[in-house]
């Protein structure tokens, strides 16, 4: 049972009934169809001191991601790979239901799911980010702040991280006299693919994509699927205690691939990469 604070969002019984009736007719309360994703807006380089940053607006949900590149020791067992660390926090200004303090269960899950999508898709070729094998590697931090909550933080944060990473400029470090020196030059990050996550939730017997906060308060189960540029599934996360049938999962996976391709096209256009 989740002890998360966000689960305290209470939707009026009248509104729940309205939502269920609307969904059963194929429309949602905000006039979207069941699998329609809210408009996405992306602004790049919003944080001047970061190596890359992106501000993503998915409907009313807003997330800012910043990339900072440093050098450090590689992770144990991954001596020949750069280090990638993705964190997320939901700021108290983002919603009346968020309190300051250590991250709650859902926020920890948010960072982990977004991290998994980027890591498992091998979006960044971390093997190219090694300076001295086993000793000094590039360490890339991607820190996300959710600044407005209106549902589907998983996808919005994922798009913010992918946009920030894909548009960042890595500083060129060199080793001189056993010391790391910043040459002042920059290089493109070694991007291999663009992972896109699509979250689908189940309310009653219906599957809906990109839920709002209200819809999330009524959902029985949630499934997030991340696909790469080839349309292969690279990561999945199921949430809540409700269940999906095999057919549900197949249908969600198909949608994740098709919708993911559409969003990837948008991201490419907005980030200006090929």
């Amino acid at each position: 049972m989740s002890l998360s604070k966000k689960s305290t969002v209470i939707v009026e019984n009248l509104r729940k009934k309205q939502m269920r009736e609307a969904i059963s007719t194929g429309k949602r309360l905000d006039e979207r169809s069941l699998d329609e994703i809210r408009p996405i807006e992306i602004e790049l380089d919003v944080i001047k001191k970061a190596n890359g940053s992106a501000w993503v607006k998915l409907g009313n949900t807003e997330v800012v991601a910043g990339v900072k590149v440093e050098t450090g020791e590689p992770f144990e067992g991954l001596e020949n790979s750069g280090a990638l660390i993705i964190t997320a926090e939901v700021l108290p200004i983002a919603s009346p239901h968020i309190e300051p303090g250590p991250p709650d269960e859902e926020t920890i899950e948010l960072a982990r799911v977004v991290d998994r999508g980027v890591r498992e898709s091998e979006m960044l070729d971390l093997k190219k980010l090694v300076l001295v094998p086993g000793k000094i590697v590039y360490t890339i931090f991607v820190d996300c702040s959710v600044i407005n909550v209106d549902g589907n933080l998983l996808d919005a944060t994922s798009y913010a991280v992918v946009s920030a990473l894909a548009s960042c400029k890595l500083p060129v470090f060199e080793i001189k006299d056993d010391k790391v020196v910043d040459t002042g030059k920059t290089q493109e990050p070694p991007i291999t693919t663009l992972p896109v996550s699509i979250t689908t939730v189940k309310i009653g017997d219906y599957l809906i994509s990109d839920p709002t906060t209200e819809e999330e308060a009524c959902m029985d189960a949630r499934l997030t699927i991340t696909t790469n540029s080839k349309g292969s599934i690279v990561a999945m996360q199921k949430g809540l205690k409700g269940s999906f049938s095999i057919d549900d999962v197949k249908s969600i996976a198909d949608k994740a691939i098709i919708k993911g391709e559409g969003i990837r096209g948008k991201l490419k256009g907005m980030i200006n990469i090929g």
Binding site: I10, N13, L14, Q18
Partner: protein, 266 residues
């Protein structure tokens, strides 16, 4: 008809100068009346005030509000009234003076997520507002479509002496329950009428500060020209002070034209 002067202001702007009484959303600084909210000014012989264009709901005693039951303790329900204050509905309000937490099951009367229309019985800013549902037309709302608008648009939605809302109710054959806190429940026999009423309410919310709104609402609702004239005459006078306090809304074209005069001569 007394002359009404209007202009748009932001906090700190001077609303009027002279020996006027500061009414609402303004303060007096020497000989000037200064605005404390973004809105439209209004000054006449009675004093000067600002009618806000944005903002949260601030509770006032005797306001009718629509609230959502969040939870209950052994003595009261806590109710979300779309404000910075959480309201409380005492259990004694429903069970009477002989209420006993040991014998009366509060969860059976009102449970989490239920929607109630209530009156703010007591509110003095030092403690959270206390609600009551012991009055005509108050209590749990069993059916209807719930929508939310900005609380600052509520007076415009009601209209002068309730004219706007009566027009909407009449044309869409629905019953609209409006809370001063911006929560509205629309109940009607058919889906079509309810949708029409909801569209009209959203239009009022978006275009509350524009001129000729009443005419456009009537066009949206397909009110025949002959009825447009009759509507004003039929409107009953409401004793609700919150309705009368709204002077920006008016069916009279003159007043509406005056309202958009942002240069508003002083």
């Amino acid at each position: 008809m007394q002359e009404v002067k209007r202009k748009y202001v932001i906090p700190g702007d001077i609303v009027a100068e002279g020996n006027l009484r500061p009414l609402v959303n303004v303060f007096k600084n020497g000989n000037s009346i200064v605005a404390t909210r973004i809105g439209i000014t209004e000054s006449n012989q009675d004093g000067a005030k600002v009618i806000p264009l944005s903002g949260i709901y601030f509770p006032r005693a005797n306001d009718i509000v629509i609230g959502k039951i969040l939870d209950h303790s052994s003595l009261s329900w806590s109710v979300d009234i779309n404000s910075c204050f959480a309201a409380h509905l005492p259990a004694q309000d429903i069970f009477g003076r002989d209420f006993s937490p040991a014998h009366d099951d509060m969860g059976r009367q009102l449970s989490t997520g239920d929607v109630i229309v209530a009156r703010i019985a007591i509110f003095d800013r030092t403690r959270d507002p206390i609600l009551t549902i012991q009055d005509k037309d108050l209590g749990k709302i069993p059916t209807g479509e719930l929508i939310k608008i900005s609380p600052t648009r509520v007076p415009r939605l009601i209209g002068k002496r309730g004219s706007m809302i009566q027009t909407i109710e009449h044309a869409s054959s629905t019953r609209v329950t409006i809370g001063q806190n911006g929560i509205i429940v629309v109940s009607g026999k058919d889906k079509e009428g309810t949708t029409l009423a909801i569209n009209a309410i959203h239009m009022v919310e978006v275009e509350a500060h524009t001129s000729n709104l009443t005419q456009r609402i009537k066009q949206l609702l397909n009110v025949p020209e002959s009825e447009i004239e009759n509507d004003d005459a039929q409107t009953s006078v409401s004793s609700d002070p919150t309705i009368n306090q709204d002077e920006i809304n008016s069916n009279s074209k003159d007043k509406e034209m005056g309202m958009i005069n942002s240069n508003g001569s002083k």
